[in-house]
């Protein structure tokens, strides 16, 4: 079984984990017809069947039970403040399945020209709030309270040593729900990871209904007719949000190094971190001239690439692949949408640039705290 742990440790490595997730993702949540075709060919649509969730639940439970036998796994997972994450993993899997399951059913109904499951005919299908809804709410309240109390009795809330501003723990971690952001710090400077990107998440979420304006397909679970939207959302929600939190909580140890779930958190573990900036690659590696002293000259390549990415790529896409969308959304909406999307994409892009080229910053102006 030792080898199983090793396998898990190996595939948990962000590079492997991320790459496989990135490859698998469009086949699980196909954004286009082409992916959908393969989605069905590969039989991935069975993921949303009843059997799948039973197997998944059993599998995850078995994994946790097996893992708890391992001291290192136990130490991380049973750390009181990490316990909610374990619960969250189960909940997210279940509810993702539940929504997809209903969506697929509705898709079939709609394909057959029928109405979705949630459809009702006013006023006959209406029900009275009293007692149906009120009662259900009351029961949920009771069960919720009972659940929280049991949790509280069973697991004491954490209290560590008294605060010591001079002695930072290694690793020092933010509350678990912010660990996705902290994980981004690996690839971005704090101003991006901590300020710009979170703000953009908020903005993107708020902007969503203004981009996806059609009131169609609301009020019931569906996938096929909102494929692209849901796929994008799922990517943000499952990969960039949940997965990063899990990585940040469970797989990041001292010095923010990667540790497999069954690996001892050894402060001595080293990772080769010889990251270089784009300007250094260009001027030193390729041109062999040494870094120019003028900041603008030094960083001009990075600036050009960035400007190109943000200013040239959107119109280019609008003319080519995303022509339909551009036409549908209009200039303003398209611009906002595409900027948000390509900003989100900077994260995986920077991840791979880092992993492949050891690239640290595309633009690096430490003089003004501007690193990108």
């Amino acid at each position: 079984m030792g080898s199983f742990k090793e396998i898990v440790n190996t595939i948990s490595n962000p590079t492997i984990l991320f790459t496989s997730v990135l490859i698998l993702f469009p086949f699980i949540f196909p954004p286009t017809d082409w992916f959908d075709k393969w989605h069905r060919k590969l039989g991935l649509h069975h993921l949303w069947g009843t059997k799948a969730i039973i197997i998944a639940t059993i599998g995850m439970t078995a994994f946790f039970i097996y893992g708890l036998g391992d001291y290192n796994f136990q130490k991380i997972v049973l750390k009181p403040d990490n316990v909610p994450i374990s619960g969250m993993i189960f909940l997210v899997v279940f509810f993702t399945w539940l929504s997809m399951n209903q969506a697929y059913k509705n898709d079939e109904l709609l394909d057959k020209g029928q109405k979705p499951d949630e459809f009702y005919e006013a006023p006959n299908d209406k029900v009275l709030v009293w007692p149906d809804l009120v009662y259900v709410e009351l029961i949920s309240l009771i069960i919720m309270s009972a659940f929280l109390l049991v949790w509280s009795i069973g697991l004491p809330a954490p209290i560590e040593e008294p605060a010591n501003p001079t002695e930072s723990p290694n690793p020092a971690k933010a509350p678990w729900y912010f660990l996705g952001l902290q994980e981004m710090l690996v690839y971005f400077d704090p101003w991006m990871a901590g300020v710009v990107l979170p703000s953009l998440i908020i903005v993107a979420l708020m902007a969503m209904p203004y981009i996806d304006r059609s009131p169609e397909n609301s009020g019931f679970y569906s996938y096929k007719r909102r494929r692209l939207g849901i796929s994008l959302y799922m990517f943000g929600w499952l990969v960039l949000w949940q997965l990063l939190i899990i990585v940040g909580t469970v797989l990041r140890g001292p010095n923010w190094n990667f540790f497999g779930p069954f690996e001892y958190w050894d402060v001595h573990k080293l990772e080769a971190l010889t990251n270089i900036n784009l300007s250094e690659i260009i001027y030193i590696k390729f041109l062999n001239t040494g870094l120019p002293s003028n900041i603008l000259v030094r960083e001009i390549w990075g600036i050009l690439i960035t400007l190109g990415y943000f200013l040239i790529l959107p119109p280019l896409l609008a003319k080519t692949i995303l022509r339909n969308m551009y036409e549908k959304l209009g200039v303003a909406r398209y611009s906002i949408f595409i900027v948000l999307i390509i900003t989100a994409l900077t994260l995986p892009i920077k991840m791979y640039l880092r992993w492949i080229f050891n690239l640290k910053y595309i633009i690096s102006i430490p003089e003004y705290f501007f690193n990108f």
Binding site: D81, P84, M88, V92, S99, Q102, A103, K115, E118, F119, Y120, D125, L128, V129, W130, P131, D132, L133, V136, S140, M144, L148, L149, W151, S152, I153, L155, P156, A157, I159, P162, A163, E167, P169, A172, K173, P175, W176, F178, Q182, P190, W191, G194, V195, I202, L205, P209, Y210, D212, R213, E216, N217, S218, G219, F220, Y221, S222, Y233, W237, F369
Partner: protein, 264 residues
């Protein structure tokens, strides 16, 4: 035996003056009208419509996550008030008060309830958002309420974040330090943020360690007494006040935007 005699105790009580004075409309809700009235006439229930589409009461559809979030908020409010009796937000007492809650105080379990409740609320709010997205319920005419919801999510996280500092232990201050340090990198407003150097006249920098976003957040250059007090006030008064306003708007808009979303 006349029918009157068959009236249950509850029914008799419902006919009394006291009952009627308390519950408008009166009577045990047995028939349709009474049921409708009991919702309409209750200050707690009237944010519900009287009648709903069938799927709105189905757990499979709603997951009850919005309701749960609200319930947990209530539990947190109550347990939080109880905690305020014992907890003193100074760096001398904060830590030992928490230890005393764990070791000695009767029903010190309130602290556990509060902490785990806070974590649970973060998860239920997320899942609520997930459900709303998956049913497309953010779409017009509900786009504004979706925005309010996003704000509520943000406030939930901030409430949890501010509460995280209060035990004043290593876990707390370093979690908040990590979070707080990001404020230092705020573009223009953080002393180590890009563009901060531009906010200067001559040699005078306006954004320094002692005047940037982080300073405002933690009330000093270092994590200390001021930060604790700020977070305490935000956690107990500031943010709950704001979140209640947004919740009110959120609930109100649910009704006004046409209730629960339904397939057309």
């Amino acid at each position: 035996m006349s029918e009157n005699n068959k009236k249950s105790f509850l029914e008799k009580a419902a006919e009394s003056q006291v009952w009627k004075s308390i519950f408008r409309g009166g009577g045990v809700p047995r028939n349709r009208r009474q049921r409708m009235m009991s919702v309409l006439n209750s200050v707690f229930l009237h944010l519900h419509p009287v009648r709903l589409p069938k799927h709105a009461v189905k757990l499979k559809f709603t997951w009850c996550m919005g309701g749960m979030s609200f319930f947990i908020f209530l539990i947190l409010t109550i347990s939080g008030i109880l905690l305020m009796f014992y907890y003193r937000p100074t760096i001398e007492y904060a830590y030992t008060d928490i230890i005393d809650l764990a070791e000695q105080v009767p029903f010190g379990i309130m602290r556990e309830l509060h902490r785990w409740g806070a974590h649970a609320m973060v998860i239920t709010v997320w899942l609520h958002m997930f459900r709303v997205f998956m049913t497309g319920s953010y779409k017009p005419p509900r786009e504004f309420n979706w925005g309010v919801g996003v704000v509520l999510l943000l406030l939930t996280l901030l409430l949890s974040f501010t509460g995280y500092l209060l035990p004043w232990d290593q876990l707390a201050i370093w979690a908040i330090t990590v979070g707080g340090n990001m404020a230092r990198a705020t573009p223009f407003l953080g002393s180590e943020g890009p563009g901060a150097a531009l906010l200067a006249i001559g040699d005078i920098n306006f954004i320094t360690m002692a005047s940037d976003a982080r300073f405002i957040l933690i009330g000093g250059r270092f994590m200390g007494e001021a930060a604790l007090l700020r977070f305490y006030v935000l956690h107990c008064i500031g943010l709950p006040f704001i979140i209640m306003i947004f919740m009110a708007v959120h609930f109100w808009r649910v009704r006004k935007d046409g209730g629960i979303s339904t397939p057309v």
